[in-house]
């Protein structure tokens, strides 16, 4: 290992011991002094709530009321899929607020990692649309809920209208189109992709847990695998690839299409003839949330009309606050693929159904194997 020794000799040569100690002290002082300002700021940010969420939800626009009240933004921690998030929290990762979706909710609640949300503490609760509060497994008793619904939307195909030659109607077949092999993209989490595969395979979500459905969906996913250039949980990667033409179509959420359109990229968020995948996501509070009051501020901020209008206008998502829609006329909403009546959209697509942990694990295992080429 004289290599390393040599490296060391290169680096330090022959410092005297006294000089070394002097320098070490100086370095120590430097380390404690330089980031002093930064650390003071840190001390402040440690008092803010931490929001553990999907990439793209960590932006100031969603937290204006929070910032107005607490002077700063909450802290963010980002995950790529709800399974990843749950695994991390089960491993001892403590946050204030996290962000599951209706399909995962019962399993999240079953881990005992979350506390009921006292709806009375949320100033915007009265305006939340009751239809999307009443999700399976969301009732925490005495008027409280486990998850405060926040955003709802679709998983569908975003495609380049200028490059992708549409044959007939918009359909999930677009992501299985042999002509564009190697130029299609997909979200990597089974929580989206597998369900879209189910739609493509014609499996009713009520039967998704059956053995037959499993085989059918796996076959469809295997068929798609060689056509996919990249599976990613980072929507920015998909958006950039669509913008550059590296991809001609990709499985995305509403926001990717809206953001790309705002940048002038000719894309469209498809309305597949088989129906899109629909979901409702929301905020939950960790049972050991270190900043409980601010956790409620985060949720209240998410439910506010200001946030809702941004979500609708800039991201193209639905929002849980009925009043958020008032600023938009029906035509604008139609253009965004939304409606003032969320059920109209959610029922028109395929609404995800909660599954058991066993199914979830088996599905992820199979899907990862398929992604690896088997």
């Amino acid at each position: 290992m004289d290599v390393l020794d040599q490296l060391g000799a290169v680096r330090e040569g022959k410092l005297s011991r006294r000089r070394f100690i002097k320098e070490l002290t100086a370095a120590g002082v430097a380390v404690t002094m330089v980031p002093a300002g930064a650390r003071r700021a840190m001390a402040a940010s440690e008092d803010q709530a931490t929001f553990f969420t999907w990439g793209g939800y960590d932006i100031p626009e969603l937290f204006q009321p929070y910032q107005a009240k607490n002077g700063e933004l909450p802290n963010f921690s980002i995950f790529g899929g709800s399974e990843e998030a749950l695994t991390k929290m089960r491993g001892g990762f403590v946050v204030d607020v996290s962000h599951p979706c209706n399909q995962a909710l019962p399993r999240w609640v079953a881990t005992g990692l979350f506390q009921p949300i006292e709806t009375a503490r949320l100033s915007n609760w009265a305006d939340v649309m009751p239809e999307i509060v009443a999700l399976p497994g969301n009732d925490a008793g005495s008027g409280n809920v486990w998850m405060a619904p926040f955003d709802w939307g679709q998983t569908s195909v975003t495609y380049r209208t200028d490059i992708f030659e549409l044959e007939g109607e918009e359909s999930w077949d677009m992501l299985w189109d042999q002509r564009y092999g190697g130029r299609l993209g997909s979200l990597s989490a089974g929580a989206d992709a597998w369900w879209c595969g189910a739609i493509k395979a014609g499996v009713d979500f009520a039967d998704i847990a059956t053995e037959e459905a499993f085989e059918k969906i796996a076959a469809v996913m295997r068929e798609q695998r060689p056509l996919i250039r990249v599976y990613t949980d980072d929507t920015t990667t998909l958006e950039q690839a669509l913008a550059s033409g590296e991809l001609v179509a990709a499985m995305t959420w509403n926001s990717s299409a809206s953001l790309l359109q705002a940048e002038g990229v000719p894309v469209k968020f498809a309305k597949p003839k088989e129906g899109a995948l629909t979901w409702v996501c929301g905020a939950v509070i960790h049972k050991d949330a270190p900043n409980l009051d601010r956790a409620y501020d985060v949720i209240d901020s998410l439910l506010s009309v200001e946030t809702g209008q941004f979500m609708i206008n800039d991201y193209g998502y639905g929002h849980s606050n009925a009043k958020s829609f008032e600023a938009f006329d029906e035509a604008t909403l139609q253009g965004l693929g939304l409606s003032k009546n969320p059920l109209e959209i959610l029922q028109a697509g395929h609404f995800q159904v909660p599954q058991t942990q066993e199914w979830e694990t088996r599905m992820n295992e199979t899907f990862e194997q398929i992604k690896a080429g088997f």
Binding site: D2, V3, Q6, L7, V10, G81, E83, E84, T87, R90, T111, G182, R183, A189, G190, R225, I228, R229, V230, Y231, A241, S244, G245, E246, Q357, E358, E360, T361, N364, E365, E368, Q369, K371, A372, G373, F374
Partner: protein
């Protein structure tokens, strides 16, 4: 010389207190004991950090996932699955293939560089060594990311070739492929090849080379008969230093590999993440270690046999 008993020492250290003096006397008498005592903290930490985790890892590899918990009845099912389901073997083979190619490429590309500095640079050798190792002070993650920028669809290579008119469409195979992983690994680990090879070249007695020249060997023959064999220890060390860590690499395939470039490290991580099958992850880690040991031993054995044949 070291072992000569020294009356001064024990008298000096333990004079005031008789009981400690007996202890120190014992310590002084048994140098092995003193040695063990000195190493104790290190060994304790290594035991805590290596031996115990490994025992638990082995134990866990015999368990079965059960919802969020584990069924701890021992079974070899996980190992059977690794053996029978093709995905595991294929990923393992692919990992060894990718890091093997990367290792060979790195060593071959770095050898002339080390040779140049060892034999053709006469002044400021240290400057050259620093120059060669400086890039490795930057974050590994960012170096890998930089390659993504270079190889990307709108990356340096594609935009360069397109503006020069060599290609019409960007080359898509550059990114999200095994080649991308290999190129990046070769670049990222270059220092680990240059330094050991340089050291072994530097150690070569120059008079041997002159002797070879005097005996009528041309430069090529001299290189093959003297320099190369004598620098083999460096080459072997470099190969190990690169091959072993890269087989378990996670970052590079995750960022640049795409679906076809995924390696076993990514799959192990998945077992602990979304797939949520920790026992399977533990099994894969153990199987990976087993194969690395096997490959390393085979490599050592081969090089030793080869050297014996040569000398």
């Amino acid at each position: 010389m070291v072992d000569t008993p020294h009356p001064n020492r024990s008298a000096e250290a333990g004079a005031p207190m008789p009981r400690t003096s007996r202890l120190t006397a014992l310590l002084h008498r048994s140098e092995a004991l003193r040695g063990y005592l000195l190493m104790a903290p290190t060994l304790l930490i290594m035991t805590l950090g290596i031996a115990i985790p490994f025992l638990i890892l082995v134990a866990m590899s015999t368990w079965t996932r059960d919802g969020f918990g584990f069924d701890t009845t021992p079974t070899i099912n996980n190992y059977l699955r690794v053996w029978t389901e093709p995905v595991f073997g294929a990923l393992m083979t692919r990992s060894f293939w990718i890091s093997g190619v990367a290792t060979v490429a790195t060593v071959i590309l770095c050898y002339p560089m080390a040779y140049y500095v060892a034999f053709h640079v006469h002044r400021r050798k240290m400057l050259w060594i620093i120059l060669m190792t400086l890039p490795f002070w930057t974050s590994y993650l960012l170096r890998v990311f930089a390659w993504k920028v270079i190889l990307g669809y709108e990356g340096v290579i594609n935009s360069g070739l397109m503006s020069l008119g060599f290609i019409e469409q960007p080359l898509e195979f550059l990114l999200y492929s095994q080649e991308a992983v290999i190129i990046t690994l070769a670049h990222a680990w270059a220092a680990f090849a240059i330094l050991p090879i340089y050291v072994s070249l530097e150690k070569i007695d120059r008079s041997l080379l002159e002797a070879a020249t005097d005996l009528g060997d041309g430069p090529v023959r001299r290189f093959l008969r003297v320099t190369l064999p004598l620098s083999m220890p460096g080459v072997i060390a470099a190969s190990f230093l690169i091959f072993i860590p890269t087989t378990g690499d996670y970052i590079t395939p995750a960022l640049l590999g795409g679906p076809d470039g995924a390696m076993i490290g990514n799959f192990i991580q998945l077992q602990f993440g979304p797939v949520n099958n920790w026992p399977m992850g533990a099994t894969l880690a153990i199987v990976l270690m087993f194969w690395i040991t096997a490959v390393a031993l085979a490599f050592l054995f081969l090089t030793r046999a080869l050297r014996e044949r040569l000398t």
